[in-house]
């Protein structure tokens, strides 16, 4: 909606990753962002799977 502007103040990780990879072509940086995102998500994912056990 705001394209991350003004000056990146409303940027979110997902769009930042995409822009870094495919507009700036800094693929390494983009992967680093991806790894950071991944670890943030891992925290939520594991707490979720702890709370929500699969019934056998």
């Amino acid at each position: 909606m705001t394209r991350g502007g003004p000056l990146g103040s409303s940027e979110i990780l997902a769009t930042y990753l995409y822009k870094t990879a495919f507009c700036d072509f800094r693929v390494g940086t983009a992967c680093a962002i991806g790894v950071i995102m991944f670890f943030i998500m891992v925290i939520f994912a594991f707490s979720y799977s702890r709370l929500y056990r699969i019934e056998e």
Binding site: C31, F38, Y52
Partner: protein, 283 residues
């Protein structure tokens, strides 16, 4: 006694009015963009940016639709249908055996596999885009339908397995056991007994897959650069230009893109809600 009844009746009436009011307010928020899309797509150009905004236009035109069709919309629609149907077939052919296997057999790591299916769908698709791009480039799949089908499949597969798993789990095992005793193979038992009985689940999953694949934008815009392979969503985004007033054309394209999805959802709504709640309760 009567007084109390009246009072209770009054309370329920008030409640109902309240509920209706909030439901109306909420649906207004959701429905207005759709109404605006529909109405703008048939407006004449000067009316699109008129101030004050024209909520109920008097002049109608289908020029915007014709423009988008001239810009190659039929080709885009064909591409999107190919990709969506490919994703549908590919995902179902993988998800059905895998969900059935999880529902009927015990094997080491089954719980891990299923919780993996839940967890992997929490990760946003953007995370995978750089590695997937590398992979597509490495395998030479870039700029092909199959790259999109493959990428979409990785996104929808876990959730499809979860929905189908809960449906297969609900089926009575004894039916298939009877078939097995009568000399059916496992595959036949799956195809002739388990699948027809879980048809609602299958339809719900198929609708979910189709809608996700139809709406997919990010992979399509990244993997495809040939114009004749672009999907509808990418073609739609391509209509946006810097200087011209193209909002009517864009929204006409949006109507074309939205209608199949809305129709599908309305037709199969019953199954979808059932499929999702079955997944939620049984897990």
């Amino acid at each position: 006694m009567i007084l109390r009844l009246i009072k209770q009746g009054e309370i329920t009436i008030i409640r109902r009015v309240q509920n209706a009011f909030f439901a109306l307010l909420l649906s207004l928020f959701i429905l207005f963009p759709f109404y605006w899309m529909l109405v703008t797509s048939v407006k004449v150009k000067p009316d699109v940016f008129a101030i004050p905004p024209i909520y109920f236009p008097m002049r109608f035109t289908i020029k915007s639709f014709l423009y988008f069709i001239n810009q190659g919309a039929p080709r885009y629609i064909l591409n999107t249908v190919i990709v969506a149907m490919g994703t549908l077939l590919f995902t179902l052919s993988l998800a059905v055996p895998s969900a059935y296997g999880c529902a009927r057999f015990n094997f080491p790591g089954k719980r891990k596999f299923l919780s993996g299916a839940i967890i992997t769908q929490m990760f946003p698709g953007v995370l995978l885009i750089v590695p997937l791009y590398r992979l597509m480039k490495f395998t030479g799949l870039l700029d092909s339908y199959f790259s999109l089908i493959l990428a979409n499949t990785t996104i929808v597969l876990p959730f499809s397995i979860m929905i189908l798993f809960s449906f297969f789990k609900e089926l009575p095992v004894s039916l298939e056991e009877a078939a097995l005793i009568d000399g059916c193979s496992r595959w036949k038992a799956l195809l002739h007994i388990a699948l027809p009985l879980s048809l609602p689940g299958l339809i719900a999953t198929a609708t979910y897959i189709f809608i996700v694949a139809w709406n997919e934008y990010m992979f399509a815009v990244t993997f495809i650069s040939h114009d004749e392979l672009k999907t509808l969503q990418v073609g739609l985004a391509g209509l946006k230009t810097l200087y011209a007033n193209t909002w009517a054309d864009i929204l006409a394209g949006a109507v074309i893109a939205a209608v199949p999805v809305i129709l599908l959802f309305l037709i199969f709504q019953r199954f979808i809600v059932k499929g999702l709640t079955a997944g939620a309760v049984k897990g």
